[in-house]
């Protein structure tokens, strides 16, 4: 991740909440952010002309497909798998919205051929992971909730996030380390 990205991500997380009339620590549903960014959210069966078999395959819980972002004429569409858990869908949508917010150039998919190769840009993935996570669970709010004694499960429930995401946020932000340091200082 480039220098200063994490700070900027946290600033964006709070900034979007302000624009939407939310407090810095409030939950920000991905659908609400998508609406604000004028991003269209779709499920496979809503695509005009899609074969039933394809729609079913791409909407199965067992299918590893999570979401696809499609830029078209200055707009963005996100097509996502509706069968994954609510928490996973939130995470997937926030991740894709993060790519859009960062202006990441998408990966090419050759649709005129059979089985195309998918190329991933690792740096962009790291940035979208961090920003997506921050949009869901802002760092300052996370610290305050941990200090107040909220459990990781309670924090996950509050933000509609998975427990794994909360653990990821605690690790990547160093929140727990900072709290331990603060508590040690308090004890003198």
């Amino acid at each position: 991740m480039k220098r200063g990205f994490k700070t900027e991500a946290e600033r964006l997380s709070v900034g979007f909440r302000q624009k939407l009339g939310l407090l810095p620590a409030e939950a920000l549903p991905a659908r609400r952010l998508a609406e604000h960014l004028q991003v269209v959210l779709l499920v496979p069966e809503a695509i005009p002309g899609i074969k039933q078999g394809d729609a079913r395959l791409l909407s199965r819980m067992s299918t590893p497909f999570s979401a696809a972002v499609l830029p078209v004429d200055g707009r963005h569409l996100i097509i996502h798998n509706p069968s994954h858990s609510d928490a996973r869908q939130e995470s997937d949508l926030m991740h894709e919205l993060a790519h859009i917010i960062c202006g990441h150039k998408a990966t090419g998919v050759d649709t005129s051929l059979g089985a195309p190769l998918l190329a991933y840009d690792r740096r962009h993935e790291e940035e979208a992971n961090y920003l997506g996570g921050s949009l869901q669970v802002p760092r300052e709010a996370l610290m305050k909730k941990l200090l107040r004694g909220m459990t990781r499960d309670q924090i996950a429930e509050f933000y509609g996030a998975s427990l794994d995401l909360v653990k990821y946020r605690i690790n990547i932000t160093g929140a727990e380390r900072q709290i331990m340091r603060w508590r040690r200082n308090q004890q003198g």
Binding site: V40, L42, P44, A46, I47, P48, G49, I50, K51, G53, D54, A55, L57, L58, T63, P64, F65, S66, A67, A68, V69, L70, P71, V72, D73, R75, L77, I79, D92, H95, E96, H99, H104, K105, A106, T107, G108, V109, D110, T111, S112, L113, G114, A115, P116, L117, L118, A119, Y120
Partner: protein, 118 residues
């Protein structure tokens, strides 16, 4: 952006299995580097790997990436964009069926969006 040719997944998977021989999946994956054992197992089951994984495995096999390209191409429909940019978030090894379904879906969504239907 360059065109992708189809990979001969059957031949690729066969060579991976032969090269691995009696080695545990995990040991082979470690040898390849930055590839997990489950990913390697899926490659052996003829799932399409992502580009990074494909190149690493080719290096491990001592083959160039072009070795398994078939150069097969389907006819392009008139008016169809050659490349639709789509960012896909998914498991790194999707089955060929899933990737083809994804390609068709992305193509349809692009057309519908261009025509203002979505």
């Amino acid at each position: 952006m360059s065109k992708f040719s189809e990979i001969d997944l059957k031949r690729f998977a066969a060579q991976v299995k032969t090269r691995r021989g009696d080695m545990w999946l995990r040991a082979a994956a470690t040898e390849i580097g930055e590839v997990s054992a489950p990913t390697l197992s899926r490659v052996e089951q003829e799932s399409v790997p992502d580009l990074d994984t494909y190149i690493r495995i080719c290096r491990w096999l001592g083959k160039s990436p072009e070795e398994f390209m078939t150069g097969k191409k389907r006819l392009k429909e008139e008016g169809t964009p050659e490349f639709i940019e789509a960012h896909l978030r998914a498991d790194k090894t999707l089955s060929s069926d899933t990737i083809e379904a994804l390609s068709r879906m992305v193509h349809l969504a692009y057309d519908a969006a261009k025509k203002g239907k979505i």
